[in-house]
């Protein structure tokens, strides 16, 4: 009989080793010794399946360790129509791991799943215990907000498993990339990845910008009444009609409205070029209790000299005669009988009005310009356009952009002294501007309220004595 081959002999040796027979096989070729010793050692080779199963067990145990150590303060409990199916879905779609489950009459009384570092309870609905699923209720009033490493990939996987996109994953103003999806069981999930950590203040600021944009998109919505700019001076005189006549006579103002104001006096509106002026005040022969408000205005005209002459003829006094100014304008100054200062000017350029300015611009004479600019910036989001200061720090001229308007100012000197003015200001959101004005140091004269002429108005007084009517034009509702 042939001697068995080495391969056969080795196999016999292996058989012996595996059946744990002790002792060497007498017939084995000596060359097989090292291999048989190896075979002996391999008896303890672990089963790959055991290794994999134990790993999976340990992973679950690790999740239970998380649960035991860091029991979260809030743990949502999701009630669903079919908890077992829902858990299977959350595993496939959200990468959830089930860590616990107990059943009750064939339904899941309570199960727990872990999604990344969060624990959620899942139960079947039990109407008799007041537990209703979104399907029974026709929706859920609670949304679950998940922060994940990659919102796009997470949502994609969830959709592939049957979730429905309610809002696509997009960059959000609050610094997250996020979207919303509905699972097949009626729960809604916000899937987010934090991209930037923003302060609450910054988020608020960004939210305001979003609101403004949304308003701007609303058909027909314009927070500024038609024909007006952001800032409109409101001049109040003891004799309102006289001031109105002065504006018409001297500047060719066109009267667009005349009525009775809230204080029982005149409320008039006139147009000069591309700008509006509001004029109020007492009526002749009637007692008027409102303190007059005067303003300085930088008013551009085609012919400064002619307008200056008309102003004097209409009873104004000269503050300075027409002259060519080093800043590229011919200018003259008058003070009307109500006390308003008019800086009449003709710009030497392609147009009589310089680029960016309107026919009528409000001019302030604060003691110090800096705090006023700061207030306008904080309260109304203004930004500085230009500033000319002398080496000693005196601001001779500054321009601040406020919406569609430019406010000009020069620090008080000589004849140009602070003149608390009344200004009508259009903003996208009167309530918000009112709050930020108060936060910037203004005091409230009147809280925001809707007015019959279609504006929502609040009134504040700033620290420099100016009164601001903060308005948002809502439009007149059809009767």
């Amino acid at each position: 009989m042939d001697k068995p081959s080495l391969v056969e002999q080795l196999n016999e040796g292996v058989e012996g080793t595996l059946s744990r027979r002790s002792g060497k096989l007498a017939r084995a070729d000596a060359r097989l010794d090292p291999l048989l010793r190896l075979a002996h050692r391999l008896r303890d080779l672990p089963r790959p399946q055991f290794k994999a199963d134990l790993k999976s067990d340990l992973e679950k145990a690790a999740l239970r360790t998380i649960r035991a150590d860091v029991q979260p303060t809030a743990k949502p409990c999701l009630i669903v129509e079919n908890a077992a199916e829902a858990i299977a879905f959350y595993r496939r779609a959200f990468g959830a791991t089930e860590t616990m489950r107990f059943e009750e009459r064939g339904k899941i009384g309570s199960a727990e799943i872990v999604i990344e570092n969060s624990i959620l309870r899942i139960t079947d609905e039990f109407p008799e215990y007041g537990s209703f699923s979104p399907k029974t209720l026709g929706g859920s009033p609670v949304k679950l907000h998940l922060y994940v490493a990659d919102a796009d990939a997470f949502a994609q996987r969830a959709v592939a498993q049957g979730a429905k996109i309610l809002r696509p994953v997009e960059d959000q103003f609050y610094g997250d990339r996020a979207g919303q999806l509905a699972d097949p069981f009626g729960h809604v999930w916000i899937i987010a990845t934090r991209q930037k950590v923003l302060s609450a203040k910054e988020i608020e600021r960004r939210w305001d910008a979003v609101l403004d944009k949304e308003r701007a998109r609303m058909p027909g919505f314009d927070p500024i009444r038609k024909g007006f700019h952001t800032v409109t001076p409101y001049m109040i005189a003891q004799d309102g009609p006289a001031l109105l006549e002065f504006a018409k006579q001297v500047f060719g103002a066109e009267e667009t409205f005349r009525g009775i104001g809230s204080a029982g006096g005149l409320h008039g509106e006139v147009r000069i070029g591309d700008s509006m002026l509001m004029i109020g005040g007492g009526l002749p022969g009637k007692k008027f209790g409102v303190t007059p408000a005067t303003t300085a205005l930088h008013i551009y005209v085609k012919d400064t000299d002619a307008v200056y002459q008309r102003a004097l003829a209409a009873g104004a006094t000269s503050t300075y005669a027409p002259a060519d100014m080093e800043y590229g304008e011919r200018s003259a100054g008058v003070k009307d009988q109500a006390g308003n200062y008019w800086y009449i000017a003709t710009h030497k350029g392609p147009r009589y009005v310089p680029q960016g300015l309107h026919d009528v611009n409000v001019y302030l004479h604060p003691l110090r310009a800096e705090p006023v600019i700061k207030f306008l910036t904080q309260a109304f989001g203004a930004h500085q356009r230009a500033k000319y200061a002398s080496p000693d720090g005196v601001v001779h001229h500054a321009q601040v952009q406020l919406g569609t308007s430019v406010l000009e100012m020069g620090e008080a000197h000589g004849a140009f002294q602070p003149m608390p003015s009344m200004l009508y200001l259009y903003v996208p959101d009167a309530d918000r501007a009112y709050r930020s004005a108060l936060a910037a140091g203004a005091s409230s004269l009147q809280e925001p309220a809707d007015q019959p002429w279609g504006d929502r108005i609040a009134t504040v007084k700033d620290a420099f004595g100016n009164t601001w009517s903060i308005a948002t034009h809502l439009g007149v509702k059809p009767a």
């Binding site: 391969v7 075979a39 391999l42 303890d44 080779l45 790993k55 340990l58 145990a61 999740l63």
Partner: protein, 204 residues
């Protein structure tokens, strides 16, 4: 026999492992990395001592679960994590022997005590990992034959090969393992270096 000789300066491998341990202490979900690193060592240590696959699997599970539970109590003092695990394993084996001595094989060679010997464990673990590096058909035969304890006939059926071919594969696989085992460990054996101690040397 003392099985650890604390080194004065931690090696890079020790530093790596320390990172893994600390990560798992902070977040138990990262325990899987330590498990992957040490499974073979723990299993081999236990299997050698209990001589019964079911008991070995049972105890290996206990050891890793206990390690996970007590991970926070493990303090790094230059003691390799493997040594800590094997200490738990040694206790588990001893406890099991006390509770039901019969479960422990009486065939245990007398020179193997219950004290862990890092070098012995390391050699065995290296062999098990070499199995994974075998060509796929050889690896499958070795796993089915030794870990799953299948007969040549059953393996032939599962692999749809002749019994002769399976025996050939078994032969070649063992020869292959012997050759690989005798060759020097690869220059940067990342996995075996993790233990933090050179292999093949006894300390004590």
């Amino acid at each position: 026999m003392a099985f650890i000789a604390p080194t004065a300066k931690p090696s890079r491998a020790q530093a790596d492992e320390r990172g893994l341990v600390e990560a798992a202490q902070r977040d138990p979900a990262s325990f899987a990395a330590l498990y992957e690193l040490h499974f073979e060592r723990v299993y081999l240590f236990i299997a050698r001592r209990v001589g019964n696959r079911d008991v070995a699997e049972d105890l290996t599970g206990d050891v890793f679960r206990r390690a996970l539970e007590n991970l926070r109590t493990y303090e790094w003092r230059g003691v390799p994590f493997a040594a800590w695990l094997l200490r738990i394993a040694a206790n588990a084996v001893r406890d099991r022997a006390k509770r039901g001595g019969r479960e422990l094989s009486v065939e245990d060679p007398p020179e193997i005590g219950t004290e862990p010997d890092l070098a012995e464990v390391e050699d065995g673990a290296r062999l098990f990992r070499l199995v994974n590096d075998l060509p796929e058909d050889q690896r499958r035969v070795i796993v089915m034959r030794f870990a799953e304890e299948e007969s040549i006939r059953a393996i032939a059926h599962r692999l749809e090969r002749s019994e002769g071919a399976v025996k050939q594969l078994q032969f070649r696989a063992l020869e292959n393992l012997r050759a690989r085992l005798e060759s020097r460990p690869r220059p940067t054996p990342r996995r075996s270096a993790k233990l933090g101690q050179p292999t093949g040397r006894k300390h004590g």
